[in-house]
């Protein structure tokens, strides 16, 4: 084969290759140069929503107005909604069966509309129904009706608020739930601390103890029917379990030292707590049926504030075994403890999210107390709020909202309860009769 023929073949091969590449590129090009806009970096903004009074005849009218008010307050406190002023509504008499004039609602920028009715039934119960409308699409998004006793109107409103919240955010609701907390009254140097329970919006406060002894760290059982807490009854600090309905209480185990920081396991069968003996504090579990105790840690350190993962397979707790107070995660049987927080800050009061994806904590750094979240593997730490004194986070049942207590400074200052959305938006104070601290959120009631 002569040299000229060889060169010719090389050129032909190169031409074929180039043609193939060109064809491939042309085939991969988009068929059209359509205008495309990428919308990224959005902000979580509260959604404008219109909630007219539920329509009712006669005496039911007041109840209809009250139900709408509770729904509005629930949604507003979540930080994700802005209920619009009813005085701006131009379509009157919005009942569950009325078809909205959507232009009237879009004119006031209402992106969603909740229209409902309430009526007393011959059997004494009330029937409440509502429809959720997408005003800009002109479509119904949800519609339900309920029958209940008139006394339950407030809880009924929470259930409707949950339905609206779920439909518009994609998250489970959390308004039909309760909070147990430590009510603090009296002067700052002589506070009376007693346990109290209320609806998550601060209504229906009821005291569980009389304040004779100081009680701390109440925590709900998975059924919401019992709480476990620490009491200084007769100057002997120990852990108790209290049945909310019957008022019956009993100590958890008989330990030689001080027991504290109790919390139920997700199945409600065990209580995990700290036992202080001498200079050491370690974690133990007590099986509520067999009364068998199991030691989980044995360090010359303070291990406390344990919290189970939702599936019960792991435990997060705080420990100063490394010199400063940090968060550790271990298996539920006490094996494989490993540290998940590092740095100069100190981390306290970890609580595992009901969804399992995050752990809430209190962080102390530079004289400030912050509430934050971190993934169980120690990554993704995020601070939601920081200030003079924020402490004691607890998760709403949907794992989306955190409640904590914030101390105000000064002689007349004291702890108050606050909520915040996981996005860091929507911080709101919860009204309580007195100062309040150490909240614990119940699971959903139904």
């Amino acid at each position: 084969m002569n040299l000229q023929l060889l060169w010719k073949r090389v050129w032909i091969a190169a031409a074929v290759l180039a043609a193939a590449l060109a064809g491939g590129l042309a085939g991969s090009l988009p068929a059209s140069a359509l205008v495309e806009v990428n919308v990224t970096g959005g902000k979580v903004q509260p959604l404008p929503i219109a909630i007219p009074a539920f329509q009712g005849a006669g005496q039911d009218a007041q109840m209809g107005s009250d139900i709408a008010g509770v729904i509005s307050a629930d949604l507003k406190r979540s930080g994700l909604f802005v209920p619009l002023d009813p005085s701006t509504f131009t379509q009157a008499n919005m009942s569950a069966d009325a078809t909205p004039q959507f232009a009237n609602w879009t004119a006031i920028s209402a992106q969603a509309l909740v229209a409902g009715s309430v009526a007393k039934q011959p059997d004494g119960r009330i029937k409440a129904e509502f429809r959720l409308w997408d005003t800009f699409a002109g479509q119904q998004m949800d519609g339900q009706q309920f029958f209940t006793q008139p006394d339950n109107w407030r809880r009924l409103a929470h259930i409707i608020a949950d339905a609206v919240y779920t439909r518009l955010t994609g998250e489970k609701g959390y308004f039909d739930s309760r909070v147990v907390f430590v009510d603090e009254s009296g002067p700052k140097d002589n506070r009376v601390r007693r346990l109290a329970i209320m609806d998550q919006d601060g209504a229906n406060v009821r005291y569980l103890t009389d304040g004779k002894f100081m009680e701390l760290t109440p925590r709900f059982s998975p059924s919401s029917q019992e709480i476990t807490y620490m009491s200084y009854d007769n100057d002997q600090p120990r852990v108790y379990v209290l049945n909310i309905d019957t008022g019956q209480r009993e100590p958890v185990g008989d330990f030689p030292g001080m027991t504290s920081a109790p919390r139920f396991s997700p199945d409600g069968q065990k209580v995990i707590m700290s036992l202080s003996t001498g200079h050491d504090t370690n974690l133990f579990t007590l099986d509520l049926r067999s009364r068998q105790t199991t030691r989980l840690t044995s360090d010359a350190a303070i291990d406390t504030a344990a919290s189970y993962s939702p599936d019960g397979s792991q435990i997060v707790f705080e420990s100063d075994r490394g010199g400063t107070t940090q968060l550790y995660v271990m298996n539920a049987d006490g094996t494989n403890p490993h540290r998940i927080t590092f740095g100069n800050s100190e981390y306290d009061t970890p609580v595992w999210s009901p969804r399992g994806d995050l752990i809430a904590f209190t962080r102390r750094a530079n004289g400030l107390f912050a509430i934050g979240v971190i993934k169980p593997d120690g990554s993704g730490e995020r601070i939601l709020t920081e200030g003079f004194h924020n402490e004691g986070p607890t998760w709403a049942p949907n794992g989306r909202v955190i409640m904590f207590f914030r101390n105000t400074q000064g002689a007349t200052g004291g702890p108050q309860l606050w909520t915040i959305d996981l996005s860091g938006y929507g911080e709101a104070r919860l009204q309580t009769p007195n100062f309040a601290s150490d909240p614990a959120w119940s699971p959903l009631l139904n």
């Binding site: 069966d97 059997d123 699409a137 809880r155 439909r167």
Partner: protein, 318 residues
Amino acid sequence: MAMRVGLIVSVAAHVAIIAWGFISLPWPKPIDASDIEQIPVDFVTIADDTKITKGLKTADVVADRPTPPPPADKAEDAPPLPKPSPQPDPTPAPPPPPPPPPDPTPPPPTPQPDPTPPPPQDTPPAPSPDATAPPPPDPTPTPPQPLKDVPLPHIRPTPPKPKPPSPTPPQDNTQQEMDQIATLLDQSKPAPSTTDTTPPTDDKQTVGSVTGLDAPTLTASELDALKSKILSCFHPPPGWADSQDGDVVLMLDLNQDGTLSDAPSVVQTPQGQYSNTATESASRAVRLCQPYDMLSADKYDVWKQVRVVFKPSDVGGA
């Protein structure tokens, strides 16, 4: 000593070379820093002349383009014939009437005996509202049970009823016969004339399409303005950002005044928990933000259809 002589010679030679360079090489001419009269200039683009869009068969027909004169060898002006009957009507047929809306009144429930209630407790109760269907008169209280999935019949906006076709006026028999004859004559296509230079009827001339090569596009500023406006109306579900559910993609058909000509069509929805809520939030945003009057009417062909991709990344608190 010899080393010292060599050094002297070397230094002398280097000095000589440098001196020669100074003498023989030309000095650079100093830059003339005198004032120059400033003349305003305009940048003129010839893109309008050179960017010719590629024609497409499916693009819009130029309505006002003069039609070519009829060929010379056409026999005579025949009376206009109706279109061949087998040709489908290019105008879309009216949609079939929607199914009648459901009756807003709830269906009568089938009476069911309530389960026996639990023993009454005098402790603070947490009774759930009863999740029964609409009311059979039941004197006994139903037990506490979660109330869910009791959907009311949906009330949907009643769509406008399709107008019945307007009655055609009666035609006289002569005209009817003429039409029948014309239909018969039109059964076969006439053979194309050898001198007919007009393009076939399905190859209509167009002004090109935005999908053609070298088509004009929106500038970066115009795209940013459009994005900012949509973003200002967007209330994404707060949990969507942390999820792996994916993007929402909508296709917008716009009128020349920037309003939506139709409901935004959903091209892609996220997969998972936020599928509905993210898609609905995006649809609400584009509806709420119209009209998009920041877009130049001159480029309407470019933006009459816009694809909007809503991404969950970087969604944060306000």
